[in-house]
């Protein structure tokens, strides 16, 4: 169990990690992620929060700063949020072996659970069609509407800092919802426009400095 002393958290975390072999660290990463992803519902942010609980608060292997850095990298790179963060945490603590172990741990529970459910679902189509079951799914999806909106609203302040951001966000929303453009093209277009805008800003700033 955890030692109760709280002095010198960084020294302690470093000491604990130094005393372990890479394979031992990879093993702990694997099992921690198995536990987290087989219990935590709701995907990305929920899994990041649980990992924080495990590696920062409980084991003290990572600091809050590491977690902030992890969130930046995780959100910058495309991919499933939870898997990105698992790879980052694994790499930070146990190198390549750690990254692979954490990723495997994050993925295996889903594979097993979903295959079981999918296998059952194809045999109980009649049950799925019952009005009460359909109603329960409608209720669930309605709840998810609220959850996704809450996520978007929490992101709002971090993202919407300039008129440019409002234009890009508005265009991608309307482009997808109304005109059904492919999301991939919308994202690529936004990145292109972003780099162009940033280059323009940089050139203007340089011009200003020269005058």
């Amino acid at each position: 169990m955890d030692t109760p002393g709280t002095t010198g958290r960084d020294d302690q975390s470093a000491a604990e990690l130094r005393g372990l072999s890479r394979w031992r660290v990879a093993w702990v990463l694997f099992w921690s992620y198995i536990r987290i992803t087989s219990l935590v519902l709701g995907g990305g942010y929920a899994i990041i929060a649980a990992a924080q609980e495990e590696f920062v608060r409980r084991r003290k292997w990572l600091t809050e700063d590491d977690v902030l850095e992890m969130i930046t990298v995780t959100q910058t790179v495309p991919g499933i949020l939870a898997c990105n963060s698992a790879v980052y945490v694994g790499w930070k603590l146990g190198g390549l072996a750690g990254a692979v172990a954490a990723l495997a741990g994050a993925v295996i529970p889903s594979l097993v659970i979903i295959i079981l459910i999918a296998a059952v679902i194809s045999r109980v189509q009649g049950f799925i069609q019952k009005p009460m079951v359909r109603g329960a799914f409608i209720g669930l999806i309605a709840c998810i509407v609220g959850m996704v909106l809450a996520t978007a609203i929490r992101m709002w302040k971090k993202v919407m800092k300039e008129p440019f951001a409002y234009i890009v966000a508005g265009c991608s929303l309307i482009g997808l919802a109304v005109f059904k453009f492919k999301p991939a093209w919308l994202i690529l277009a936004a990145i292109f426009v972003g780099i162009a805008a940033q280059t323009a800003t940089a050139v203007r700033a340089r011009g200003g400095r020269e005058k």
């Binding site: 992803t37 499933i80 898997c83 790499w91 529970p109 109603g135 609220g146 780099i195 162009a196």
Partner: protein, 192 residues
């Protein structure tokens, strides 16, 4: 869809889902439901609810489910490998590059465009979920004549569930696990 196409399509999704699994929902809808027609609309709705109420990353749940519907257990493993392959390579690259070049112009521009676009797409994902629950079918944006009839079809209990969830999540620290269970129970009795 054959095995190679399955792996490649999920590899592509892995490269394209910026900002996490929510964006996978519109991607899947345009590519697999409307584009290739390998998933029926009903299958897609089942998939979304199963992926969300099952623990684990939503994107992995989705990939596994779609892979399973196409090629059984082997398809499930293959689709999942497809979606995590880019992750493994890109995160390790990004962790090193981002640290070194964070203040450079291209990286700043990349972030400047990518962040608001993914926020817009997350709002669009909320609309797609709403079309499967609060509304009865797709919103007729470009047909003003149908707007009134469409609004009459709104499921009021589902609308209240969505609004209630949003309010509780923003104002309290209640775990969404309870909200999902309560919503399913309410939906079973109130939503038709």
């Amino acid at each position: 869809m054959n095995l190679a196409a399955l792996y490649l399509v999920f590899f592509k999704f892995g490269l394209l889902c910026f900002g996490g699994g929510y964006i996978l929902i519109p991607l899947l809808q345009s590519e697999l439901v409307e584009g290739r027609g390998v998933l029926a609309a009903q299958e897609f709705a089942d998939l979304v609810s199963v992926a969300q109420v099952t623990p684990g990353p939503i994107g992995i749940n989705t990939a596994t489910y779609v892979g399973f519907t196409q090629h059984g257990v082997f398809g499930a493993v293959l689709a999942t490998l497809g979606i995590v392959t880019p992750t493994l390579v890109l995160v390790l690259l990004a962790a090193k590059l981002l640290k070194r070049y964070h203040s450079s112009v291209p990286i700043q521009g990349f972030l400047r465009g990518m962040r608001p676009a993914s926020l817009g797409l997350i709002f669009a994902a909320a609309l797609i979920f709403a079309e499967m629950s609060v509304f009865r079918g797709a919103i007729p944006w470009l047909k003003p004549a149908e707007w009134l009839a469409f609004l009459r079809g709104v499921r009021i209990p589902a609308l209240l569930i969505a609004a209630g969830t949003l309010a509780v999540l923003l104002k309290t620290k209640v775990s969404f696990l309870y909200l999902l269970l309560i919503s399913a129970a309410l939906g079973a009795f109130l939503c038709r």
